[in-house]
């Protein structure tokens, strides 16, 4: 099957969406909705790390829409002139993820400062790490993690496998992990909300469709799908 699809043009028009990996499930659902509403149009997704997608776009990737997991990565694209006027379409909030049994007996953010606990945070370079620093700073806490993870999924994995007693991750991630981790909400998370921007790209081959897709994402039905996955309205 793989050879057959190679280079074969879609029968109708194809909309290409570059989206952060964390949007995979919700965007796939939105894509199906979009296709249903636009017969003959096929939506193809390129999910990956926002930063890698940004690299691809600045190197001339033929994309129509870019949905990033942080304003910073979107900025590298707009700075390069490949997109203008990004819009925030969802926000994401931190939660404390702990193993279901909660061996560290964690109930609030300040418990993470306990030096005996193995806490993992995201690296400061990635959005969830930046958010964690903001939240901890707001709470005036100093937490020494055992690891600064490359992305939020890596942090979550550590908790799922019981390697870490706690991690600061997004609500959406806690939600997608189901019953393998327990999420603990904490008030300071309001101080560290991460925004997801979306933009139509400057050289989009299907600019009109791209515009419609971003409208779908920001529309009420679109927001409903996203909020089911744990995102919050912008």
């Amino acid at each position: 099957g793989s050879t057959a699809t190679k280079g074969t043009p879609a029968p109708g028009r194809t909309l290409t969406v570059f989206a952060a990996a964390s949007l995979t499930e919700s965007f796939k659902a939105l894509g199906r909705t979009f296709e249903a509403a636009h017969p003959g149009v096929k939506v193809t997704f390129n999910f990956g790390a926002s930063s890698a997608l940004a690299q691809q776009i600045t190197q001339g990737a033929p994309a129509d829409v870019f949905a990033a997991a942080s304003p910073a990565t979107m900025k590298t694209v707009t700075d390069a002139g490949d997109a203008t006027a990004p819009k925030t379409f969802v926000k994401n909030r931190l939660e404390i993820a702990v193993p279901p049994a909660n061996p560290g007996k964690i109930v609030a953010l300040k418990d993470l400062a306990n030096a005996k606990l193995k806490v993992v945070l995201c690296a400061p370079q990635v959005p969830c790490g930046a958010a964690a620093i903001k939240a901890l700073g707001a709470a005036g806490l100093k937490v020494t993690p055992v690891s600064q993870e490359q992305d939020v999924k890596a942090a979550l994995t550590k908790v799922e496998l019981g390697e870490a007693d706690a991690a600061l991750v997004y609500r959406t991630d806690v939600k997608s992990a189901g019953d393998k981790v327990k999420g603990i909400d904490f008030p300071e998370s309001l101080k560290a909300i991460n925004a997801y921007p979306i933009a139509v790209l400057a050289k989009a081959p299907q600019a009109a469709l791209a515009q419609e897709f971003t409208q779908l994402v920001t529309s009420a039905p679109g927001q409903q799908v996203l909020q089911q996955a744990g995102f919050e309205a912008p």
Partner: protein, 265 residues
């Protein structure tokens, strides 16, 4: 009548057996860990998903093609490094290891810089021939070949260096040109090394992730290979990721167990 073995080749010495078994356990136990965690009941339904089959097929196809590309270019390159002396040989030999050390994602970026639509060579390919490589299946093959070729080159070069040069001399006295010597004497003599290199190359290409996703993107059916599918599955459903990995493993182990002994003997 049963053959009595008259040449029992001594005991396998402990000092070799113990580290070998340790090494084997180290390589195989994590796999056991994975297998224990695999949600077997869902296996069937996963395998039935067309996306999984697409990804698996694409992986096998691109890895095999990438291995062919590597063979065609890499074996001659290894020969050049092992048999011809030219100025700068040492540097070239060290440069060949570059893609090995380069974090694959950076390798993907580097490929974009050269072969991307705005890249050094890619710009020209685009304007002259209308060829763009990124985000195509051909791009996947290139990304995999870039990452996997050094494995082939280095192990084949090692095999060439260990080969007895005098057979090549004998072939020359029989009127064989260097090409004939290469084809009819050198290649068969270092066949085990080439098989080993090919396996390394194929397996590395099959497992390649970073350079592929960066250079070729992650489009199902076109550039989404199994490792990419695993990566996305990890985002949404870690169990599914394990299942996909196990499928990839099972297929590759089966292919290797099936093919390799045929090549070797």
């Amino acid at each position: 009548m049963k053959t009595i073995s008259a040449s029992p080749r001594g005991r396998v010495p402990w000092v070799l057996l113990v580290p070998a078994l340790l090494g084997l356990a180290f390589l195989v136990l994590p796999l056991a860990g994975l297998l224990i965690r695999t949600p077997w009941p869902t296996m069937g339904t996963r395998l039935a998903q067309p996306e999984v089959r697409d990804a698996l097929g694409l992986s096998l196809f691109t890895a095999t093609l990438a291995t062919l590309v590597c063979m065609v270019c890499g074996v001659p390159l290894a020969w050049l490094l092992a048999r011809v002396s030219f100025p700068g040989l040492r540097l070239v030999r060290a440069l060949v290891t570059v893609p090995l050390v380069l974090p694959p994602v950076v390798g993907g970026v580097a490929l974009l810089l050269v072969l991307g639509r705005r890249g050094l060579v890619g710009r020209w390919l685009d304007s002259a021939f209308g060829i763009t490589l990124p985000f195509t299946t051909a791009g996947v093959v290139l990304a995999e070949a870039f990452v996997a070729m050094p494995f082939l080159v280095i192990s084949v070069e090692g095999a060439l260096r260990a080969a007895d040069l005098r057979y090549e001399e004998a072939a020359a006295t029989l009127g064989a040109s260097r090409w004939t010597v290469f084809r009819r004497v050198t290649l068969p003599l270092v066949a085990p090394g080439i098989v080993a290199g090919g396996i390394l190359c194929w397996a590395r290409a099959l497992g390649e992730f970073g350079a592929t996703i960066t250079f070729a993107g992650n489009f199902p059916g076109r550039t989404q290979t199994m490792p990419l599918a695993v990566y996305l599955a990890l985002e949404t459903d870690p169990q599914a990721a394990i299942v996909l990995s196990v499928v990839l493993l099972a297929v590759s182990v089966a292919v290797l167990a099936g093919l390799r002994d045929r090549w070797i003997s």
